[in-house]
Symmetry: C2
Subunit: 307 residues, 2 copies
């Protein structure tokens, strides 16, 4: 069955994956297929997240447009950073979050929510689809739906060929991911779990619209809760790459026949999206001691992106 | 394809269903199968809900047990009603909700949440499974998983045979439904949408546990929000039976090729679970004027339950 994993080199990671799949799908104690659930973080696990997550690129463009329309905004963060293309401030907000300081993240999320207040989910979807069509990754200069990790797409297909159902469980906005996940990963919208802005129902137009408040950030201990809410089962396989994935990896690991994978960005592409350990120090430290299986991009993947 | 609808009599409802399915599945403008989503209310739509919803029966038993263990509780509502088997008080709380007064419902929900504080979702599942095995419907004297409406189960199978994916969207507790929906309806846990108690993640045991607060009541305008959250598409078919289903029925109805069904309990079984219009006055009134298709239990169904 390993013809599915063509971009994976022989090694401990590939051996662990194939051994896991064979152990849960064969023999008298095979796990029933409805229980073969796999969950994948998105940014940094299924596609590139540096120099900044795709969603941040999108939102920076929204803020820059808002600042052009209302110059008073341009003096405030995060609009100022957007206009100045000050990615250091924006990346810093994420880094501070991982260091335990959410002050800039709150500023950022507040401004994020303001971009969609009262927008219908359908109109947001159309705006995001246009972004995926037109935007280019900042350093790789490719359309975002093409900066997905080819070995991980092969892993999704390999799992599906063995009766698994795969879900995305990301800190990214659920509705920002949904317009690209079918084409890029073969994962339909009902299997995309992510952060969420609060919704309200418009009884005049019979549409679902975004509200004024952020609902939840699907990271850290929130991930297992959202997995239960949406799926109603403990998965068999989890894959992540950052400290925010630890609770999900451990939740899955409690299943006695599970596999928890950590993607380690130890390769240097020279294109500005790797290598890095930042935000992953703890989970990488744990990979050696906690039974998580480390996937080395440098050693375990023969290629990162599709040609 | 109508061999699937053996318990449905010829008539306007059956004709509308078959015509709808043929129109969205055949011809050059057939709706792609991934967009063929159908959503079903549960209590009163897929199974009986009188003289009281199944979940209330379960929770009454929990409260009575709590009051036996702590006599101070037995003087308070809803424990008093549970000990006295005062179903009038309990049913009244639901009726008052539909009349716009949630005071008793809040008392009831507060006591409901207290039954599961810190319980793991797995332990709750085991408790609910035991209830479904042992409990009997109060007037029909059958196990609850057998008081499902046979014509609606046939409708689920008919839709699936035509490429639809069916979901439950109920005001009932999501995790109370999940242990019975596969066997009774063929609907897996990931397609059960319902009300929810807040969750927290226990990093010591790596389990998902219930918290101290109710999260949301999946009724009325909440239903379309939860449909979007979970499915990410506007469904093509909705079925309900009470006023709380109106926003869901209208949300679906906005799709130009949709069908919205309202089950009308106009039959008299003589067994204490029908007829009734209470809680459905508005939606039944609208069935004639708003394009909802009325399903008469008396006229459209040849039998209500499987033998």
């Amino acid at each position: 069955m390993s013809e599915h994993l063509q971009s994976w080199r022989e090694g401990a990671a590939r051996t662990a994956i194939v051994g896991f799949v064979e152990s849960v799908t064969t023999g008298h104690d095979a796990v029933p297929s409805e229980q073969r659930i796999a969950v994948f973080d998105n940014d940094g696990t299924l596609w590139t997240e540096k120099p900044m997550p795709t969603q941040l690129h999108y939102i920076v463009e929204q803020w820059a447009a808002a600042a052009r329309a209302d110059p008073a905004l341009a003096a405030q963060q995060p609009y100022k950073a957007a206009v100045d293309r000050d990615f250091a401030w924006l990346g810093g907000a994420i880094d501070k979050h991982y260091a335990g300081d959410d002050s800039d993240l709150h500023t950022l999320i507040g401004a994020l929510v303001r971009t969609t207040v009262n927008l219908s989910v359908d109109d947001y979807q159309a705006a995001v689809e246009a972004f995926y069509r037109d935007a280019r990754h900042l350093t790789l200069a490719r359309a975002y739906p093409t900066v997905v990790y080819q070995p991980m797409v092969e892993l999704l297909r390999y799992l599906e060929a063995n009766g698994f159902t795969c879900y995305i469980v990301s800190g990214g906005d659920r509705d920002f991911m949904r317009p690209m996940t079918v084409d890029a990963y073969g994962i339909p919208p009902e299997r995309v779990i992510g952060s969420a802005v609060g919704l309200h129902y418009d009884t005049t137009t019979n549409d679902v619209r975004y509200g004024e408040h952020f609902d939840f950030f699907d990271d850290g201990p929130e991930k297992p809760l959202r997995i239960w809410t949406r799926i109603g089962r403990r998965p068999l396989l989890a894959a992540g790459n950052s400290n925010g994935d630890i609770p999900m990896l451990r939740y899955v690991q409690k299943h006695p026949r599970s596999l928890s994978l950590v993607v380690h960005h130890d390769d240097d592409t020279g294109r500005g999206d790797a290598p890095y350990d930042k935000g992953a120090e703890t989970v990488l430290g744990e990979a050696g001691t906690s039974g998580f299986t480390r996937v080395s991009v440098k050693d375990d993947w023969a290629s990162v992106f599709a040609p």
